[in-house]
């Protein structure tokens, strides 16, 4: 009896999580402009029309650019920070890590408005570059967390062994450290890219005249006749996001299963 109740609860919870999300792909194939049951019939025309929407494609291009720049920069910064906190005993490491993670707990709307005011105050124009800077605030903590875990997982003796065998710091990094933390780097790139790609509020405030994809979609919601196309776009983003996160997790775990220490 109790077992059944628990199963029911679990199913209800899963439904609560995923049914709303599933509405999106379902209506994206619905042959009607109106989002209402009963479904009118199957069509792929909303997807076909997406391909012809140059403004949307431009916004997609902006998002990809911002996402890739954010992923590369935050992973690079995360790499340096993670190496420093795991390899050296520095004063204030704990406090520094805390402050770096703080933007994760600041509401995005507050973050967005503060950045907007700040840019105005120092006279920087709103642009995709500004969006990248904003996204770095949110993504660097993710990158550090993923990479610190990876650095902590491997035996320091390996780097010393490399030095002992005649390689300087730079070559040791390329021959030992980098290959061993590569799964962490890939996971960090994927996670930060997704975070940036999906981010709306900071981008809304900072993108100016060059909307990213989420900002563009938000703009489209004012036009009821375009809603099915937005749903189709949302369904694609959903599928790609899930695939990327799954890939990131897979890469991270694949790396963890391999032996990490020399013992």
């Amino acid at each position: 009896m109790r077992k059944h109740a628990l199963l029911l609860y679990a199913l209800a919870y899963l439904a609560f999580l995923y049914v709303p999300v599933l509405v999106l792909p379902i209506f994206s194939f619905n042959d009607s402009q109106f989002i209402a049951f009963p479904l009118a019939g199957f069509t792929t025309r909303w997807y076909a029309r997406l391909g012809a929407d140059t403004a949307m494609l431009h916004a997609l291009g902006n998002s990809l650019k911002v996402g890739m720049a954010t992923a590369l920069l935050s992973t690079l910064l995360g790499l340096l920070a993670a190496r420093a906190v795991t390899r050296y005993r520095l004063r204030g490491t704990h406090a520094a890590l805390g402050f770096i993670s703080l933007p994760l707990f600041i509401p995005d709307i507050v973050l967005g408005i503060s950045l907007l005011l700040m840019l105005g105050a120092i006279g920087l124009p709103l642009s995709l570059g500004a969006v990248v800077l904003g996204h770095l605030l949110v993504c660097v903590p993710f990158a550090i967390t993923v990479l610190v875990a990876r650095f902590e997982g491997f035996d320091r003796d390996l780097e010393e062994a490399s030095a002992d065998l005649g390689e300087d710091g730079w070559m040791t990094f390329w021959r030992v450290t980098f290959p061993l933390i590569l799964p962490g780097i890939l996971a960090s790139l994927l996670l930060t890219f997704i975070t940036s790609f999906d981010e709306f509020l900071v981008a809304y405030f900072l993108s100016g005249t060059e909307p990213t994809l989420p900002v563009y979609i938000w703009g489209q919601l004012r036009f009821p006749e375009r809603l099915p196309m937005v749903l189709a776009l949302g369904a694609i983003i959903l599928a790609v996001s899930v695939a990327l996160v799954a890939l990131a997790e897979y890469v991270r775990n694949a790396g963890v299963k391999k032996p990490m220490v020399g013992a």
Binding site: D157, A161, D164, L165, G166, E167, L180, K258, V261, G262
Partner: protein, 350 residues
């Protein structure tokens, strides 16, 4: 001129010195062991020789060249790490070839050198294996091969056998000894295992609290320790407080408390003793005999060790039992102990 020469080297990590004004000379081509309990500073000393730590003061020279300012990757030393530190992302071949990159050898020559090294450590046919597919003993061989293939002036071994189980450890002891003779490279091993140090090394330095207490051959360390700490650390030993009564010719007469008045050879007194000095008489368990007469005691416990048995004998007027080793059990629990004067050694008190 010693091959490795350490002069007045000290190192502290923000507390009392871990290595305290150490002087040490290691001759070329020998197997040298640095023996001491954990925390005595031996590993720190080894890491300073490898270049992973910098001495606060003093100099370290190898083959006449001062090493203090030379970073680890440029030193003529190679190390076998306690964890072995085998690169997990590389095959056995690539692990061993790792340190040969700078030589820019032609491919077939590199292969020949690695294969020859594999044969030396008896790992033929395993060159394609990944690090994850090796047993503990194989990992140790890879670590040795990887270090030796560079033909270092000095091979440093940090507790090389500690991670292996007892049987494998004993087999590897023999192999390590043979390997050193075969390659002729100077080995400097750090260990806390006195049996390992005594059976492997030509010379042993005993270290405690950051200081070197004695440097000697294994036999000398066992038979003529220069202080109580060394005697205590190497094997079992019994101590008796005594005072010097007379020094005449080649004999020294001492008042040995429970042992009575004994005259021992002057050569057995391992310090400059004068009449009236306090001294510590020491004797190994195997040098004490059961006899019909002598110091009376009762058998308190015995430990069968296979070849011999270790007996704890309680005697009146002494709290610690006297440890005696013998092949045969004494006929009764009431025993008499015989202390041959020539087997007693005299150490400085304290």
């Amino acid at each position: 001129m010693a091959y490795l020469s350490i002069r007045q080297v000290s190192k502290a990590f923000g507390g009392p010195p871990v290595v305290d004004a150490v002087d040490l000379e290691v001759p070329q081509g020998r197997f040298f062991a640095l023996l001491g309990p954990s925390g005595c500073g031996k590993t720190t000393l080894l890491r300073m020789i490898a270049g992973f730590e910098t001495p606060d003061s003093g100099t370290i020279a190898i083959d006449g060249e001062v090493m203090n300012a030379i970073p680890p990757h440029l030193r003529p030393t190679n190390m076998v790490f306690q964890s072995y530190a085998i690169f997990p992302h590389l095959s056995v071949f690539d692990n061993i070839a790792y340190g040969l990159r700078k030589l820019r050898l032609p491919k077939n020559e590199l292969k020949a050198r690695v294969e020859a090294m594999l044969a030396t450590v008896r790992l033929e046919g395993l060159s394609g294996r990944g690090a994850g597919q090796l047993s503990g003993g194989q990992r140790q061989r890879v670590a040795l091969a990887r270090a030796l293939v560079r033909q270092p002036k000095l091979l440093l071994l940090d507790e090389p056998l500690a991670a292996l189980d007892k049987r494998l450890r004993e087999a590897m002891q023999v192999e390590l000894r043979q390997l050193q003779r075969q390659v002729g490279i100077t080995f400097l091993m750090v260990t806390h295992d006195q049996e390992e140090a005594l059976s492997l090394a030509d010379q042993v330095a005993v270290m405690n609290n950051g200081k070197i207490l004695q440097v000697a051959s294994p036999r000398e360390l066992y038979e003529r320790p220069n202080c109580r700490e060394v005697a205590d650390f190497i094997g079992e030993i019994n101590f008796f407080h005594a005072t010097v009564k007379a020094v005449d010719g080649d004999r020294v007469t001492v008042n040995g408390g429970l042992l009575g008045v004994v005259a021992l050879p002057r050569a057995n007194i391992l310090f400059d003793a004068a009449v009236g000095d306090a001294l510590l008489l020491a004797i190994r368990p195997e040098d004490i005999g059961f006899a019909d007469a002598g110091l009376a005691g009762t058998l308190a416990a015995s430990t069968f060790l296979g070849e011999t048995t270790l007996f704890q004998v309680q005697v009146a007027g002494r709290s610690d039992p006297i440890v005696v080793s013998n092949y045969f059990d004494p006929p009764s629990k009431d025993v008499h102990l015989n202390f041959p004067p020539d087997m007693l050694i005299g150490l400085p008190e304290s």
